[in-house]
Structure formats: C-alpha cells, structure tokens
Amino acid sequence: MNPGRPAWAVTAVVACSSAATPRLVAQVKAAVDLGVSNVHYDGFLASTAAAVSPSFRWAGPRTLVVANGSYLRFASGNRSLQANMAGSFFSAPLGHWTGELSALAGASQYRDFTGFSHALLTGRIHLDGARTGAWIGGTSGTTSFVDAQRPVGALLAGVWRRQFTATWLANANYTRVGDSAYTDVEGATRAVRGRFTFDGSLGARVWSRGGGHGVYGEASGSYAVGPWIALVLAGGRYPTDPTRGSVAGRYLTLSVRLTPLPGRSASPPLIVSRPAIHHSSPSSDDPPAVSAELQDDGGFVIHAAARTVEIEGDFTDWQPLLLTERDPAGWVLPLPLAAGTYRFSIRIDGGAWFVPAGVTKVPDEFGPGTVGLLTVP
C-alpha cells in the first residue's frame, strides 16, 4: 500500500488494472512483509522502525476487495497501527465502457493519543482497450482527526498503457480536505522480468493550499526467491496526505515478503509494491538528536550528543558562542535571555550552521536556508 498517495488513488490504480483484466474465477492473494525501515519525516530527524505489513486481495468476476495494515515500532519504542480496506464493484461492460463503485475505510493510530479515520466512496467510469485504457471519476467522503470531522472530495482522471512487460500509468487528482486543497500529477510503471519485479512512480503536487508542494517519487524492486518468498528493497519520497494523516517524508525499507496465498493473477495490479509504512510521524515527544528547548526559568538548552555546540544569534551579536555542557547531551546558553524575539542558528562540532528541531524556522534573508526564531516571554 502506498504510504503517501491518497488511499482512493491506490484503489483507482487497482481498479484500473482489474477492470482491464477479465477475471473468470475468484482469486485470493495474501502476503505479509517483515522489514526494517529508515524513515525521515519532514521537519523531524530520521528514525529506524521495524515493520510488519499484512495484505489481502480477493478478486471476483466483478468485485475486488483489498485490505492491508501495518504495525511499526520506532527506535524510540513508540508504535503505530494502520489499517485500510477497500471494496470495488464493477458493472457489466458496455462495449469498452465499465462502471465502478468503490468504498474505502481506514484508520490509524500513533502511540495512544492520535487517531485518524476516513471513509470514502468513489465512482469511476473506465474506457478499456486491450493495451490502453483511461478512467475518470470522483470521490466523496469524510476524514476525522481527534474529534474534528472534515469533508473529503476529489476529482480523478488517468490513463494507462501496457507495453511488452511493463505497464505505464499517468493520472491527475484534485483533492479537497476541509479547507485544504491540492492537485497531484503522477506517473507510474511496473515491469516484470523473470523473478524481478520493478515498480516506480513519479509525481508532483503542482498546486496546493495547505497540502504542501513538491516532487515525489518512489521505487521498489523485488526478487522472488521462491514461490512464497521475495526480497523487497523500496525507497523514495512521498507527499503529505491530509486524509490519512500522513506527513511528507522519505524512506528506505528492506523487507522479506512472505506470500502464503500467492494468487495467480496473469496481470498483477499496478501498485508500487513498497512495504506499507504508517507514517504518522514521531511527535515532538520523541527524543531527537538535536533539539532546542526554552525552559520555564528562561534557560535555553540544546540537546545534542556532540563534542562542541556553538550558537550565534541576536543575543550574541551574531558571533559564535560556545555553549556549556551541563550534562550529557544538554548544552546551555551561559547567559539569561531577556524578553524578546531572537533569530539564531547553531552548529555541532564545527559543522554547518542549522536550526535545531523544536524551533520555528523562517526564511534566511541572507541565504538559501532558514534561521531559527525564538521568543522569550
């Protein structure tokens, strides 16, 4: 399951491929991925996590049910859970045209205090040929975070083409989630050659109001060691998904895929087959490697495992000032800060200047980076 793409988009991809492939008998496929990931959410430090990601797929003549979940345990000891289930019903073909109605529901929880859930209904019309196809549709539903419900709406359109051993897909989605809205343009491909399977996707959030911008892409390669086991290496960057409550980030995962029910689909669905990563991000409660903290007594502390920590800012006349090590990984500013707003940066062991976690970052007027903004009441 794609961790970054809106869930209904994945369903759309599944449905597209499924609609293009007649299914005479029901097929069942189940798998579980066991892996280790290195995840780097935007605005946070990188973290490793162990992941267990089961998935299930049942395809009948006119129905498709997909379910998947993931359990992650971060290096901090925090855990997260995610589960999604989607069902699609396809109408009888009318020439090259097929109608599809699908429903998707999902929920996620990080630690024991943050939960998202969503329920979406999608209608889609497919125009399918032997090697090419297209679809257009819309999604409506709701997503909730804590006790806040927000409406979700999306317009979807895409095309696909199968050529030799590869399938290519391009789609554009306009999505509204509450007062946020964004447009994604994406392309994806899957190629199978012998025991190797390659999945790749490239996309861009070309317009956004509250959903972030940027280019993202993911790739995964798997090698089938046997009929029930495969090694999977996956990585990439994905965008923020306000519906499912995921923060943009990048990841690299190595996993073993066990497939007790391998299925026998002649044309596997075009899903970038990366292990499911629930990317509800670590909260600021996680102990980051370098962070800043303004304490109640006015003290300013940098938490960092380092040999030296220097700071420069409005309170040092922008001259590097060596901080004092109060305790292991706790570096303090040796002067009290008066009330006011201060810009500053720090550096570790004489390296580059940067802004630690836990501090507001604003654009640097004098360079391409950012500068920290600290307000002392």
Partner: protein
Amino acid sequence: MTTVHRVATLALAAALLATGVARAQDPRLLHRLDSTTTVAVGALLDSARTAGLPVEPLVQRALEGAAKHAEPDRIVAAVRRLAGELGVAKAALGHESSPAELDAGASALRAGVRPEDLTLLRQRRTQSLTVALAALTDLVVGGVPPDSAASAVLALAARARDDQIADFRRAVERDIALGATPAAAAAVRVDATLHEATNAAANPNTPRKP
C-alpha cells in the same frame, strides 16, 4: 553596490555627519561592516531612533548579514525592510508598545499577518502581546492561513494566559506534524484552549490533566 550608489551613499553620509544627525555609530557595526555599509545602516538607525522605533533589532539584522558574509546591498536592504516593518507594527500596535512587542509584531507582519489583525489584538488583550504575536507568527509559518491563525489567536486574546497560548501553539504544531491540516488543527485546538481558559478562570484551583 554600484559606483553611483557608493557616491550617493558617501554624499549622504557626509551630509549627515555635517549636520550631526549621524552622531553615534554603533561600535559593533564599525568592526563588522565596511565603512560604506556602516554609514548607510547608521542612517537607517538614526531614522528609526527618530521615529521611536527600537534600533537593536536593526543592529542585529546588520550583524547577521555581516556574519553570513552577505553583500552590502543586501544588508542595507534587510535593515531597511525591517525598519519598515517595525514602523508598520508600531502604527498597528500603538505608540505605547514595548520594543519586544514591536519586534514580535514585525516578525508577524513578515510572516503574512495583516496590520489590522495586530490592531485588533492590541484592542482585545490587556497583557503584553509578545507571546500572542509569537504564536501568531509560528502558526502562519507552520502553514496555518494568516486569517485563520489571526482568528484563533484573537479568540484566545481576551481570556487565555501566555502559557495557555504557548501550549495552544505547541498543540497545533504537533497536530500539523502528525498530519492534520494546519487550519483544522488551529480550529480544533482553539476550542480546547478556550474551554480550558474559561474553566481555569472559573475554577483556578481545579487540577488539570497532565
């Protein structure tokens, strides 16, 4: 800086020196900026001083540019821009505003907050505005639309304490980091903070959940 600009700046500096306006250059600038830039920044400091604006933020902005080896033109432009923002902040927040409030107000304006919202904030809150303005800036920088952020902070302004506003800002930041849309996070948390502020005012000794 072009030759024409250098000549003009030097001429301006000479005039200022002659009239005694540039009477006291900050010694920190003399050691960190070249003479031309020092004179240009000094003129801006004098103008700010005359207008009753805090000059320390301007000095620090110039020193920041020097520390980052910025071009002289860029340093002067940054100081001039900040002086303008401090002036707008003063007009919006009132002439009795503290230097810390003006500095925080300038940051809020830079982030995209409207001057009218600063004025409303002054009208609704009797305590210092420094924390409220900082929270407003942080929300906007964090992705909350300026009008939504202003509405949230204005809603809290009359009743919430500084620590409650700071907690509100942290809660919104955490929600955003966990995937909530910035505007939704602000809307949800402002209700909870208002509820807490109201209850705390009614029952100040009621223990709160950790």
